[in-house]
Subunit: 295 residues, 2 copies
């Protein structure tokens, strides 16, 4: 019977997945020494077991060595396989060489994970120039889409929604949520000049003055895209928008900045634990894991 471990931040999903599937719940100590080095200790037997680790890979540098230590020691103690469920998969944004000399970190990180793990399941990875994880991961991967629970949350909570995708990358994904919610939608154009410098062009949206705008994005990091979009909606007289992100990274003080912007609410899925979490992805992850293990 598989045994489910997690890094402490990911206990909620790990507990749900293990109890949904009646799997054993493993225990490991994962902490830092005062000098910041990582410490990993397995407290449960893994001999001949299929080990499943739940570890969201936001702030991947902080977690990569501990993940490596975990995979190595689990193999040393005789684990039959080690699979990773990372509700958020980091290092997907540098998906090409924008300038000569750049390391394509998505590709190198994929090689690193592929070397130490047997399979990977994630939620809505940032697939932009890559069409599928198979292009960079050499281990089996499965992708879970949060569109269904997000659409359900909108149906349950938003009156007369008008969906707004902040850039072209969100097209397919916004159109899917629009189909499920029967809501109108628009995709904006984003011009990125640097990490924090984003402008968004807004056309022809005045007809939606009576709607509740819902801005949807996969990753909220600096929140600049959301904030800029909210100000533009405000300028043309739309209602304060609801901001939904699948992956609430919220770098530095960006969450505080976002909730001080002219918006109604911030909502996220629990791929990364955060105060804004309102959409639970653990049922989807459970299904995907069950399907993968049955294959």
């Amino acid at each position: 019977m598989p045994i489910v471990f997690s890094f402490s931040n990911d206990n909620f999903i790990a507990n749900k997945v293990a109890s949904n599937l009646n799997f054993k719940r493993g225990n490991a100590t994962i902490r830092h020494f005062p000098d910041s080095e990582s410490y990993v200790k397995l407290n449960s037997e893994v001999k001949n077991e299929d080990v499943i680790l739940i570890n969201s890979l936001d702030h991947p540098d902080r977690k990569a060595m501990a993940l490596l230590f975990f995979a190595d020691v689990a193999k040393e103690y005789g684990a039959k396989s080690i699979g990773l469920i990372c509700p958020y998969l980091g290092y997907m944004r540098q998906d090409k060489r924008f300038h000569d000399g750049e390391a394509i970190s998505s590709d190198i990180f994929a090689k690193f994970l592929s070397q130490h793990l047997d399979w990977l399941i994630t939620v809505d990875p940032h697939l932009h120039r890559y069409k599928a994880l198979e292009e960079i991961y050499s281990i089996p991967t499965r992708v879970v889409h949060a569109t269904l629970p997000i659409a359900q949350w909108i149906i349950d909570n938003v009156h007369n929604p008008y969906l707004i995708g902040p850039d072209e990358e969100s097209t397919q994904w916004i159109s899917e949520v629009a189909k499920l919610t029967h809501a109108p939608f628009v995709i904006l154009e984003k011009i990125r000049r640097g990490d924090r410098d984003v402008t968004v062009s807004v056309h022809d949206m005045e007809q939606y003055r009576e709607h509740t705008p819902v801005i949807l994005d996969d990753i909220i990091s600096t929140a600049q895209t959301m904030i800029e979009t909210a100000h533009q909606l405000n300028a043309i007289g739309l209602k304060p928008p609801i901001c939904i992100g699948v992956h609430p990274i919220f770098a530095a003080n960006s969450y505080q900045t976002l909730i001080n912007a002219p918006i109604a609410k911030v909502v996220s899925s629990n791929t990364i634990p955060h105060a804004s979490n309102a959409i639970d992805v653990s049922p989807l992850i459970t299904e995907a894991l069950k399907a993968y293990l049955n294959d």
Copy 2:
């Protein structure tokens, strides 16, 4: 001709080594995105070059992915070899399984570095249960000892020194500095109960009341060993000691705590850039590198 790169913290040693040996100085951008992910870009040609990277591995989690990206992109651009000079080598302290289930991080980290690099030079690695880096590193390694410049600093700056090694691990090393300085020395016994809980036993030291105590340790992390030792020397009426560490990690606010203890001065080598640096290891590193490349 070899080309020397460095992470920004290590520019001083990189500049010294490159100019001492008349090697090219390479330039790379190594920074973090707002979401904390690492970004690496080579700004100098490396095709058919022997690449040397200076990167001290204190806070190794923060640097390991960038190091991986650097090594990978340098190979992709045709580097002939990639060597690492890490003045401080992290992950050497978990050198055995103290409790069942623990990952032996020294060994796993050594495998990780050995896989991505061609050779490694470091200064006084924390060799306790391992006798040599070869036990865990599969690439050629060279170890530089800071004993000579430390002894020289003591000769130049300390009147009538009395050397104090805080634990058995320091025996060989303290005795070497004692030989070079012709100073008396003592090795204390350390009992470690947890990361920050250290007591030290002090015997028969009253005869050194007119000496200047010099406490020597390889790593200063929480500084608890130094602080506890200083208080005990104080209690038996010795002068305030000079505290010398090869590797000034200084976790959290430990440097402030140490300089507020009954001590005269804190001095360190520049294996990790820090306000206490007074002993330059770059001549030693230069020599070791020259000898290695000539072999």
